[in-house]
Symmetry: C2
Subunit: 267 residues, 2 copies
């Protein structure tokens, strides 16, 4: 099928998911929407996150997409079932692939989950892991300062290390051997997180797992793109594009990117 | 005049301004709108901040107000002139009162300004101070991590001190004797900011200055409330009220507060 894969995130973090999607499925057209006028979702109520998720989905459907990737952990944790129920196209979130990878990786059946306040408060990761293997103990921690740290460009300084230590020491003390980076910003902090945790704790980044699942679903449906020509990549944002285009390059790990500002819902 | 004073902020921080308003004008009715579904404004473009400011103002006008207080430094820095131009009621921002107090307080004519990315990028504080006294040197610093620190409840720990030191050391090195806390969240960090700066640097909190100006304008217009009965305080928010009500008590320094969720603009 020649239609694009639609991807939305509250802002810029979902570009780490897009990057893996492009690596796995380089020939697929992609349309990315970053809701930069309303970011971050991680501090909002479930009701508001779901309203924003619906509005983002309606915008992407109007662009003609064959599949939706919810590349935001908060929206995946809170709104995925509601989005699937409301919009009957194939919808893939980032949460279940991460939970599956963690359940497969843990040896001692002690898994840590870190994410935004809203993601952790939802309990969705814990439910997803326990659904796969009820014997796994799940320890969760909200890390609200990690996103602002990444956006400030402080990935790897003394502040990042002190903050990581405060959030992660209690998880380390529980003896986890696997940690899910349950927010698309967190892979940028991998260096400092690894240093604080020490060796022997595996980090799970759901982006690669999600890309794998998208590929499998397209295969199963026989919906992969079959015509010739290079893939088209479109980027939309709800605030002005300058900041997104600048920081986006860091996340996408590619040259420059151009985004168009649009209104989504009332914003 | 019996109508209320309308106050809006991007979220919760403006409650520090409301607190001073209540202290200065206990008999005035007040209507507070916190745009919690779209907070923070400090990372958004000027265009988006102005659109949100207009929508907030329209909402408050529909509640019948006699005067508008823009209790958000970012909106005051970016959108105050546009709001005044569009809505011809008395409009007071938090920026000019703070700038006036700083210009009056400085002895060595070296003033520091700290605020959000958007406030500092606008250059509005610097212009306001220099308009009062062009001989004053103004040194500005955006402190994007201060708001998340306050909202995380880390006002006074080792992380707060390390972050404050990173942001404030360059201002201290310039020899400032006065620092404007150009964001309504920052007064909560006064303790750690004072400790990092050491004695001899005066901190300016615009909330008290703003309340003074509101009082003077109402006097001049002869618009103070004259009927009997206790003042009515209404609180509206754009996300669900739980988080606002909880953290709001800290800012308002009063017992409990109840807020009603409303839609503003398309949100």
């Amino acid at each position: 099928m020649q239609k694009a894969i639609g991807i939305f995130d509250s802002g810029i973090g979902g570009l780490t998911v897009l990057k893996e999607l492009i690596a796995a499925l380089p020939r697929e057209h992609t349309i990315y929407l970053g809701d930069t006028a309303r970011v971050p979702y991680g501090i909002r109520s479930a009701e508001t996150v779901t309203r924003y998720s619906f509005e983002n989905t309606r915008f992407l459907l109007a662009q003609e997409i064959k599949m939706l990737v919810v590349a935001c952990n908060t929206a995946s944790a809170i709104s995925l079932d509601a989005v699937k129920h409301e919009f009957p196209l194939p919808v893939i979130g980032v949460l279940e692939p991460g939970a599956r990878a963690a359940a497969a990786a843990t040896g001692n059946k002690k898994v840590g989950i870190i994410g935004t306040e809203a993601t952790i408060a939802s309990g969705a990761y814990e439910r997803a892991v326990k659904k796969i293997d009820p014997a796994i103990d799940v320890f969760s921690m909200a890390c609200p300062l990690f996103v602002p740290l990444v956006e400030e460009g402080w990935f790897d300084n003394d502040v990042a290390e002190l903050v990581a230590n405060r959030y992660l020491a209690p998880l380390k003390a529980r003896g986890i051997d696997t940690l899910v980076l349950g927010c698309t910003h967190y892979p940028i902090l991998k260096g400092v997180i690894s240093r604080v945790l020490g060796s022997g704790i595996r980090l799970i980044d759901s982006a690669t797992e999600t890309a794998k699942e998208v590929s499998e679903v397209l295969d199963k449906l026989k919906w992969k793109r079959t015509d010739g020509g290079t893939a088209v990549r479109k980027f939309f944002v709800t605030d002005t594009p300058a900041r997104f285009e600048k920081i986006g390059t860091l996340f996408l790990g590619e040259g420059s990117l151009k985004a168009e500002q649009v209104r989504v819902g009332g914003v």
